[in-house]
Amino acid sequence: MKPAEFYARDRRWHPPALARDYKTSVTRSPQYAAISLQHSASELTGPVFGHNDIDAVDNDLLANYAQPGESPIGERIIVHGRVLDENARPVPNTLVEIWQANAGGRYRHKKDTYLAPIDPNFGGCGRTLTDENGYYYFRTVKPGAYPWRNWVNDWRPAHIHVSVFGSGFAQRLITQLYFEGDPLIAKCPIVATIPDPQAIDMLIARLDMNATIPLDTIAYHFDIVLRGRRSTLFENRLEGN
């Protein structure tokens, strides 16, 4: 039986390649139109990851780079949610990877020269596999805003970079998570590469008091949606999509 194809990507929902206010995109955006490709196994399949690939502590940024008995400085948060597809079905056992600056907006990267200091107990990356219900969570500190050389006084909103695989290479996605209520979101040229305010809204994690651990850690909720799979009357599996 032919595997079902993924729904076409809505290229008016995603940011266009060229968004002049985000200056780096000017010379890094293709000028020719992409060639549309109906899917074969090359697009429908993708890498499979298992628990042998990662360690249990990898999703805990409060611990995965801290000295024994110490922890990073900053607002302790849980980021959690589900990875779903466009049919609202969970995407189980898929790899979610994140990276971020520390509480002061400084990245642990040899190319970052921002004067805010490195936190000796904070690496800034994590990874996990979704469970059978598509659920994932990380513990970390809330990242700080960060200046960047775009316009003279541009500051990135607090954000966490998120990378997700899904089950096929065509679902591969990298995005950024923002935090509810941050006034920098509306000013950011990278956020504004996304034309539709509803699409931007999907990137804003919501404060989640019900998942907050009293006297310990604040929680934010962030669901991720990957491309769904089509089924036709003739290709349909009996159990549905």
């Binding site: 729904y7 929902w13 995603h14 940011p15 390649a17 985000y22 995109s25 000017v26 010379t27 890094r28 955006s29 293709p30 000028q31 020719y32 992409a34 060639i35 549309s36 490709l37 074969s40 196994a41 090359s42 697009e43 429908l44 399949t45 993708g46 890498p47 990851f49 690939d53 990662i54 360690d55 995965n64 780079y65 049919n87 990877e97 994140i98 990276w99 642990r108 990267h109 040899k110 190319k111 800034g124 990356c125 970079h161 990378s163 089950s167 290479f169 065509a170 591969r172 996605l173 990298i174 995005t175 950024q176 990278i190 996304i194 990137l203 991720i224 949606v225 990957l226 491309r227 769904g228």
Partner: protein, 202 residues
């Protein structure tokens, strides 16, 4: 039917290495970084090396790119439940590489993939699927690398033949060279401008 919308993409940014290749960012954190070993310890087929640059619209190499490769094994099977058949132990078919910060050169060691069945029963020529993210790239770019020494298969490849502009097809063909007896394929990717690489909306 109520559908959800896909989460919109954002650029991977200049510090993508922190999350996806932390050793290159300058620190060790994971027991094992993912994506270093594409073909595993005992792959079938011909061992090859692939190298190239990613070049921007000014002709300059992009030095903060991350590429991911996805390929079949020498039998034309992907390491996936719907991949067409079994693959050898340790063959993942997926790799992740970054550019050298000074030169922009990237490269990986793998094996030459076999032909994979495409749509409507038409075999595709051997190819490696590539996904490219970087600062300034808002949505990952998909392309394919084909092999210059597969002329006959390339000529009947259903995807190459989708490209109406015949001169653009050459942008997907990696040049074969020899380095100390090991086959080396050179594949430069031009993101914009003269001889712009073909990218796919997959």
């Amino acid at each position: 039917m109520k559908y959800l919308k896909e989460t919109p993409s954002q650029t991977a940014g200049p510090y993508v290495h922190i999350g996806l290749a932390p050793g290159a960012a300058g620190f060790d954190i994971y027991r094992e970084e993912l994506g270093h070993d594409i073909a595993g310890p005992n792959p079938k087929g011909e061992r090859i090396r692939v190298e190239g640059l990613v070049i921007d619209g000014t002709g300059s190499p992009i030095k903060d790119v991350l590429l991911e490769a996805w390929q079949a094994n020498a039998d034309g099977h992907y390491a996936h439940p719907e991949g067409g058949g079994e693959v050898e132990e340790g063959f993942r078919g997926w790799g992740r590489v970054i550019t050298d910060f000074e030169t922009g050169e990237w490269g990986f060691d793998t094996v030459k993939p076999g032909r994979v069945m495409g749509r409507n029963g038409r075999l595709m020529a051997p190819h490696i699927n590539l996904w490219i993210v970087a600062r300034g790239i808002n949505l990952g770019l998909n392309t394919r690398m084909y092999f210059a020494d597969e002329d006959a298969a390339n000529a009947e490849d259903p995807v190459i033949n989708l490209i109406e502009w015949e001169r653009r097809r050459a942008t997907l063909i990696a040049r074969r060279e020899d380095r100390d007896g090991l086959p080396l394929y050179r594949f430069d990717i031009k993101v914009q401008g003269q001889d712009e690489t073909v990218f796919f909306d997959i």
